[in-house]
């Protein structure tokens, strides 16, 4: 088992390298440079060229790449063109917001999806199951952001239950009111995001429950006289839920990708919105840093899920 | 059949599969599926290759047809060396050497009609026009006892035995000289087995085809084969004519296989059962003598000019 984990970790290294090279090359293609517009607008082209030269912007690309990586490993992602501050500082606070929103979305996804999947599997073929299946495929096919727009319109603006922008109310003070306000702001986007993401968990769990229902060990338990409720609790749920837990890592990619839309619609100050603003203001260092960060987090998530699955699934373990 | 021309000669065939392991997935060992097999098939032979699962007989068959590359050794067909894939391709090897597969469920493409299935080798090796092709396929269907109404049907509409007959028709389509039949009746009900075997015999006579008949069942083979080779753990442990093997078996593995043939005669039941126990006892006591330190079979020793067996030298009787 350790062999699998170690091998998996080793594969991550070339993936990281290729990711960073890709991100770097893309960033070099973006038009513009870090200096025009940031310093004295009266600076001549000659002076700008000189600045670029001493900052190594005319060096061959692999040298520039190497410098970039070295800076990266020291935690230096460069300065934001727009704010003239270290990128790490700018991303910092936003990252926390996105993190909490993503976490809440993941929790909601499991909170909604697990019971739904179990319920549908248990009542296979009946009306409840049909309803769940209709719901699943409906949310799966409609584009994610459309669900968000409609949800925001109905629950935010229409019924005015939830706030539609920002991460915290401006007049909240003190620890608990702030916490509550933050939660209040997150609940609508998290729930809507969760509604969309539950379909895969629900499907998986449902078929897992159905397979387990027909399996021999459940039939044995029934023959022994164990009540259906207990069977579900002790046998079926445990077997079906373990892989679901492992899938959590894979969902990170989707959560991050979705953050772009969620934060745009709800004007939520997170990394997604930061990226969109950075694109519009041509803040290339921030853009590049975010793409790299997102890619890295996705990589990490896939890695963790692969490792978790290899621990859980005895079949994979025997390698 | 001793003076018939040699059709296929296999010399020291080895097929080794690498086993990967360790951290870097390097090759740490190899599975010696076929480890030094030599045999000679002459025109008109029905050559039986017998062994249990894992003995390497199917792999040998596949190597002969060209579906499996040989790791070492030589295969020659009618004096041309066909060990390499390029050589086989150049001489359209499969036009003359075909295969019948074991599982009737899997050996026919479920998405293709019978016409296309049987015509496939024709389309690759012979260039007939539409009419000629259709006539040929209809004729083949007739030979295996299926009517023209089968032409545009799908495999799932036929029984196991019928599907095997379609497989036989496909193998015979290009009028090959040698057909490798890999356990052609093992997946069929007993009552159907005889039917398919009879078809195979009929076709052999009509088209002058030689067979390499691979099986694990010495009972089935008794009626079909004139030459038999017994395989065990990748090596041949006994070769001989039908008489040699059934009347004078020498290797304990052969004896064991013979003893396990179910006896249909109820009256001989006791006798047969006693015989089987005896063979088992002899096997348990002496099996190590017949295999070397590595657990591999001994080299073959010539007993008569048709009979060879992999017995220890001191056991050779006059």
């Amino acid at each position: 088992m350790w062999k699998t984990i170690l091998r998996r970790l080793l594969i991550m290294i070339p993936e990281l390298i290729i990711l960073s090279v890709l991100v770097f090359i893309l960033s070099k293609q973006l038009p513009g440079d870090p200096f025009t517009g940031s310093i004295n607008p009266k600076a001549s082209m000659g002076q700008i060229h000189h600045l670029m030269k001493i900052n190594g912007l005319y060096d061959p690309w692999y040298q520039q790449y190497w410098h970039w990586v070295v800076h990266l490993l020291h935690g230096d992602l460069g300065n934001s063109y727009e704010y003239q501050e270290p990128v790490t500082a700018i991303i910092g606070s936003r990252a926390i917001n996105t993190f909490w929103l993503a976490l809440l979305t993941m929790i909601m996804t499991y909170a909604i999806g697990l019971p739904m999947g179990l319920y549908a599997g248990r009542h296979e073929g009946k009306l409840q199951d049909a309803l769940v299946r209709i719901y699943s495929y409906a949310t799966m096919s409609v584009p994610f952001f459309v669900v968000l727009v409609i949800g925001c319109w109905i629950f935010g603006y229409g019924l005015n239950i939830f706030p539609t922008s920002g991460s915290v109310a401006p007049n909240a003070t003190g620890f608990f009111p702030v916490l509550l306000s933050k939660f209040y702001h997150m609940i609508l986007p998290a729930t809507l995001g969760a509604l969309f993401a539950t379909s895969s968990i629900t499907q998986y769990l449902r078929s897992g429950v159905i397979d387990a229902k027909n399996s021999n060990y459940v039939k044995t338990a029934q023959a022994k006289g164990v009540s259906m409720n207990n069977i579900y609790k002790h046998h079926i749920m445990r077997n079906a839920m373990l892989p679901i837990a492992a899938f959590a890592g894979y969902s990170i990619t989707g959560l991050l990708g979705g953050s772009l839309f969620t934060e745009q619609i709800f004007s939520y100050p997170g990394m997604g919105l930061l990226f969109l603003n950075a694109v519009n203001f041509r803040d290339y260092t921030v853009m590049t840093a975010l793409v790299l960060l997102y890619g890295f987090l996705s990589l990490l998530g896939t890695l963790l899920s692969d490792i978790a699955l290899s621990i859980i699934d005895p079949r994979i373990r025997v390698e | 059949m001793k003076d018939s021309p040699i059709l296929l000669k296999v010399k020291n065939l080895r097929v080794h599969f690498p086993v990967r392991g360790g951290f870097w997935n390097r090759i740490i060992d190899k599975v010696k599926a076929v480890d030094g097999v030599s045999l000679t098939i002459r025109k008109g032979d029905t050559y039986g290759l017998i062994g249990e699962s894992g003995s390497g007989k199917s792999t040998t068959g596949k190597a002969i047809v060209g579906l499996q590359d040989a790791t070492k050794g030589h295969i020659s067909f009618m004096d041309s060396d066909v060990t390499k894939k390029s050589a086989r391709k150049k001489m359209n090897y499969n036009h003359d050497v075909q295969m019948i597969f074991q599982d009737p469920e899997l050996s026919l493409n479920p998405e293709k009609r019978i016409f296309d299935i049987i015509a496939e080798p024709l389309r690759n090796f012979e260039h007939l026009n539409n009419e000629e092709e259709k006539i040929k396929v209809l004729k083949l269907l007739e030979i295996v006892g299926l009517g023209p109404d089968s032409l545009y049907k799908y495999p799932h509409q036929f029984s196991g035995g019928q599907r095997q007959r379609i497989g036989v028709a496909r193998a015979v389509a290009t009028n090959p000289k040698l057909i490798v039949a890999d356990e052609p009746v093992s997946a069929l009900d007993l009552s159907v087995q005889a039917q398919v075997l009879n078809f195979m015999k009929k076709i052999q006579k009509e088209f002058d085809i030689s067979y390499l008949f691979i099986s694990h069942d010495l009972g089935v083979v008794k009626h079909m084969c004139n030459h038999i080779a017994i395989m065990n753990r990748g090596r041949i442990v006994e070769i001989g004519t039908r008489e040699d093997i059934y009347e004078h078996p020498l290797h304990i593995y052969t004896k064991r296989l013979l003893a396990s043939i179910p006896e249909a005669d109820v009256n001989k039941r006791e006798e047969h059962h006693k015989n089987r126990l005896e063979v088992e006892k002899y096997y348990e006591q002496n099996k190590d003598k017949f295999y070397d330190e590595n657990g591999e079979a001994l080299p073959l020793i010539q007993i008569t000019d048709t009979h060879l067996a992999a017995i220890p030298k001191n056991m050779k009787k006059g």
Partner: protein
């Protein structure tokens, strides 16, 4: 020759007999299953008609005229004879934008599905059939493509290229959306490649290319049909999403996404609801209809599978 002659007379009769006993192919079977579901047929017809309408009607609309701003019609109300669906902040007819935008978004989605499905199918077939190192390498590429943040990179690319049109955009998008299909196809191909009929084809002398595309692919064809349909529904969201964020089609080209983007303004979303609601409703209905068709197709293929594993 004599044999041919005597058979000649019978050939026609035998041929007729064979044809009379022929069985419908799995395509026909699936289609018949599908036809029996009334709702699915209606959905299919409605969707096809809608797409046709949108394409034809957009020919009659002069895009540059339509997109020119006319402050006089600032947020004109809907359900009037001039503006069936009202107008937006620039006084442009929403109804006309909806027709042209639908055409653009749908055609891009069709193109995206066609290209990414083809790539995904070929990728899965090759990866699954050859196995070994080829498969390993291809899977590494797959893994990598799955972790890169596709949307962000697409947005960056869109900003790098000086000019692009609908076609180049479709090509760019196709680079990132073939993975799902390839995974499905690969799984099925792996299991099919181990079956004896593939070996039988090889022994019959069929070339590798023909085996992959003419022997194995028909066995995954039902999977392909279902997956392509469902992918189509999902792919509509790709360009629309991009345009919604403002990075899709170049300025001045309407799309369903740009229309829904009207909802970004807090005022618009409630007061001037006609600017974004029609496009939103259209996308929801379209996607639901298409994925319903896909679900029915999947059910139909399961029915035909049953007959072949008797």
């Amino acid at each position: 020759m004599q044999e041919v002659e005597s058979k000649d007379i019978n050939l026609k009769k035998l041929e007729a007999e064979a044809k009379a006993n022929s069985t419908p192919s799995s395509f026909k079977l699936m289609f018949n299953e599908f036809k029996s579901d009334k709702m699915a047929m209606i959905s299919l017809i409605l969707v096809s008609l809608f797409i046709l309408y949108v394409i034809i009607a957009s020919f009659f609309i002069n895009t540059s005229n339509m997109m020119s701003t006319n402050i006089m019609n600032y947020f004109a109300k809907p359900f009037t004879p001039d503006f069936w669906l009202g107008a937006d902040a620039g006084g442009r007819s929403i109804a006309k934008q909806l027709i042209v935008g639908s055409r653009n978004s749908i055609l891009i989605a069709i193109g995206l599905t066609a290209i990414s499905s083809s790539v995904g199918i070929a990728y899965g077939l090759i990866s699954g059939y050859f196995g070994g190192i080829t498969d390993l390498a291809m899977q590494r590429v797959y893994d990598f493509m799955m972790i890169i943040p596709s949307f962000m990179i697409i947005i960056e690319i869109v900003n790098i290229i000086p000019s692009y049109n609908a076609i180049s955009l479709t090509l760019i998008l196709s680079m990132f959306y073939w993975m799902g299909t390839s995974r499905l196809i690969r799984a099925q191909t792996l299991s099919e490649s181990n079956k004896d009929y593939v070996q039988a084809s090889r022994a019959s002398g069929t070339s590798t290319l023909k085996i992959i595309f003419k022997q194995i692919m028909p066995n995954v064809s039902s999977l392909i049909i279902v997956d392509t349909t469902i992918s189509f529904a999902e792919n509509i969201g790709v360009e629309t999403g991009l345009s919604y964020l403002g990075f899709g089609l170049p300025m001045g080209t309407p799309s369903l996404g740009t229309l829904i983007a009207n909802a970004n303004d807090a005022d618009n979303i409630t007061t001037y609801w006609w600017t974004w609601l029609p496009a939103t409703i259209e996308i929801i209905v379209l996607c639901l209809a298409i994925s319903y068709i896909g679900a029915v197709l999947r059910r139909a293929t399961n029915a035909t599978q049953r007959r072949s594993t008797k």
